[in-house]
């Protein structure tokens, strides 16, 4: 170990939560019209009826319900990082509907969860995950995990 844990993109999720269960995706909320944005908007509100410029960081709901899901049976092109020497292992993508925010957020499922484990409407929660590792860094991301699935 000793390699730095680095978020694959800064500011999209809590980087070093005190407890794993405190992990959250981070969006922003317009102080004027309360519209919520993920990925975060930091400069201008995108509501066409609002000219707001004060956007405050807010954690998104940690749980939502599966809106849809799929997998990637073929190796995606760069900049996705994968080892061409190793046989491709499909990953699962989940689109999750957050009730409070009334929005759908994409993410990979935790490794080991396949499309056979998922159904539209199933409750899932956001958890910290690792996207890939290289010589210097462990690149961290967010994953969706069915509620009740073993960690």
């Amino acid at each position: 170990m000793g390699r730095a844990r680095t978020p694959v993109v800064a500011g999209w999720f809590t980087e070093e939560p005190e407890r794993p269960e405190d992990f959250r995706l981070l969006g922003t909320r317009c102080a004027d019209c309360s519209a919520v944005f993920f990925p975060r908007e930091d400069d201008f509100c995108r509501n066409p009826a609002c000219c707001g410029t004060r956007l405050l960081e807010v954690p998104l709901s940690p749980r939502g319900r599966v809106w849809s899901f799929t997998d990637g049976r073929y190796r995606p092109p760069a900049p996705y990082v994968s080892d061409p020497a190793r046989e491709w292992e499909p990953y699962t993508l989940v689109a999750v509907e957050l009730a409070a925010e009334r929005m759908v957020v994409l993410g990979q499922a935790v490794p080991g969860i396949t499309v056979a484990d998922l159904a539209v409407g199933m409750e899932v929660e956001v958890v910290p995950g690792v996207l890939n590792e290289d010589d210097e860094r462990v690149w961290t991301t967010w994953h969706w995990r069915p509620v009740g699935a073993r960690p």
């Binding site: 694959v8 993109v9 019209c33 309360s34 519209a35 919520v36 944005f37 993920f38 990925p39 995108r46 509501n47 066409p48 009826a49 809106w67 849809s68 899901f69 799929t70 997998d71 990637g72 049976r73 073929y74 995606p76 092109p77 760069a78 900049p79 996705y80 990082v81 994968s82 990953y91 993508l93 689109a95 509907e97 009730a99 409070a100 925010e101 009334r102 929005m103 759908v104 957020v105 994409l106 993410g107 990979q108 499309v115 159904a119 539209v120 409407g121 996207l131 991301t141």
Partner: protein, 441 residues
């Protein structure tokens, strides 16, 4: 339909119509040559079809891709140079899959403004092999780059999310999706410009490998080389030049409305509908009746709309078609055919609902009835669609119009829809781009 009366006795100032004098295509395939060569071939065919010399063209409108039209190699000028510099004005349009329709619209606007009388519209692509991928480098401010970096989410992954959602919400099945491919392959087999020209069976679809569950290889459109071109003119020029033009009566290039509640390529998330009322419209003060009317039209054509927390409410695609219908003074009941963007088999079904051929959820039933096949009540993708062509991005929206033109002129051979008078094309691409064109005779 109001338009037909106007077209026979009105003027361009009243109707806003432009004439299509010529259509041409370079066959789709993987030919391994440059996009300019394909574009010139299509342009020459369109000019010959129009019976006009290239030197008569006063405006060239090129549709480009980032691949084909990088700075210093811009589409409009590349085509004009290859055809031989003759002083025509030039324009280039980039709007992802809607690039071709935006080039058509640029030509139309120039013609209606009296700034050009004969315009040549050309779109051509030489597509790379495999998945479309973003340009290289570290570009963390580009959502298209980030979705590959963080999610590995290819275009088919998004198509698959929509397909799975339809299965869950509407009860569509993999067999329904396969039937779209069977239908479009049958039409494409009769199209000399199609890349894939043979019948496909449902068993072949089911035997093809899964790319992104639930979609299989034969559910997803390929990427192709190809080119399409149109010669457009003013109504006055057309009346002098030909006895039987067809008319473009609408070109919709609207953008989405906030909040965008259906997940779109290449986004990580939808907009949040919390704190806004999607049903009320969200324009700034004085947004005006045009926008409101377009939304309303979309709802009328698409049937009941469930606003509120339901994320599948009539969205961007329906608004694209609604704006075209409004501009054309037409509705789905007027259509004799439609060309829609079947990036996947399941997406074709989505379009049936978005262009108002049936209420939400009924698309598979319409398909199973045979209504959308050749010989059906409202044939969709009589060209064979993307299923038979594969996508040549900046050419595709123009190719859709070429098929409409050939059908309305009665020149579609074994694909001919008897007595076709009104056609609608529709497409949607990345980054909030989409288009719809109405063509009539």
């Amino acid at each position: 339909m109001d338009h037909l009366a106007l077209a026979s006795g009105g003027s361009a100032a009243v109707t806003g119509d432009v004439a299509v004098l010529g259509a041409g295509m370079h066959p789709w395939g993987k030919w391994g040559r440059g996009f300019t060569e394909y574009g010139v071939a299509a342009a020459r065919e369109a000019l010959a079809d129009a019976g006009l010399d290239w030197t008569r063209v006063t405006l060239v409108c090129g549709a480009q891709t980032v691949r084909g039209g990088y700075p210093g190699h811009v589409a409009g000028a590349a085509f004009a140079r290859a055809l031989g510099w003759q002083g025509a004005r030039v324009s280039s349009s980039y709007a992802a899959c809607a690039s071709g329709a935006q080039a058509v619209n640029t030509a139309r606007a120039h013609i209606l403004a009296g700034m050009a009388d004969v315009a040549l519209v050309v779109g051509a692509d030489a597509a790379p092999k495999g998945f479309f991928a973003p340009a290289g480098g570290e570009r963390a401010d580009d959502p298209d780059w980030l979705r590959f970096r963080i999610l590995g989410a290819t275009n088919p992954a998004y198509f698959a999310l929509y397909a799975r959602r339809r299965m869950a919400v509407h009860g569509d099945t993999a067999e329904d999706f396969a039937l779209v491919k069977v239908k479009n392959a049958a039409a494409g087999a009769a199209n000399p410009c199609a890349r894939y020209r043979r019948a496909v069976t449902a068993d072949e679809v089911a035997a093809s490998p899964v790319v992104a569950d639930p979609l299989r290889l034969l559910d997803i459109c390929a990427t192709s080389d190809g080119a399409a071109a149109l010669v457009l003119s003013s109504m006055e020029f057309a009346r002098r030049h030909t006895a039987h033009p067809v008319w473009i009566t609408a070109v919709s290039t609207v953008t989405p409305r906030f909040p965008q509640t259906v997940l779109e390529l290449p986004d990580f998330a939808t907009d949040s509908a919390a704190g806004t009322d999607p049903a009320a419209g969200t324009g700034k003060d004085g947004a005006g009746t045009v926008r409101t009317g377009a939304v309303q039209a979309g709802r009328d054509h698409a049937g009941t709309v469930h606003a509120g927390t339901e994320p599948d409410r009539a969205g961007f695609r329906a608004s694209i078609a609604a704006a075209a219908y409004e501009e054309a003074g037409a509705g789905p009941e007027d259509l004799d055919l439609a060309e829609v963007y079947d990036l996947s088999t399941a997406l074709e079904l989505q379009w049936y609902e978005d262009i108002g051929l049936c209420p939400p959820g009924d698309a598979a039933r319409l398909l199973r009835e045979g209504a959308t096949g050749l010989g059906g009540r409202i044939p969709v993708n009589p060209s064979g669609g993307l299923a038979s062509f594969g996508e040549a991005v900046p050419a595709q929206a123009i190719a859709q119009v070429c098929e409409a033109v050939r059908q309305l002129r009665g020149q579609a051979g074994d694909r001919q829809i008897e007595g076709a008078r009104v056609a609608l094309t529709a497409n949607q691409g990345l980054f909030g781009h989409g288009s719809s064109v109405v063509v009539v005779r």
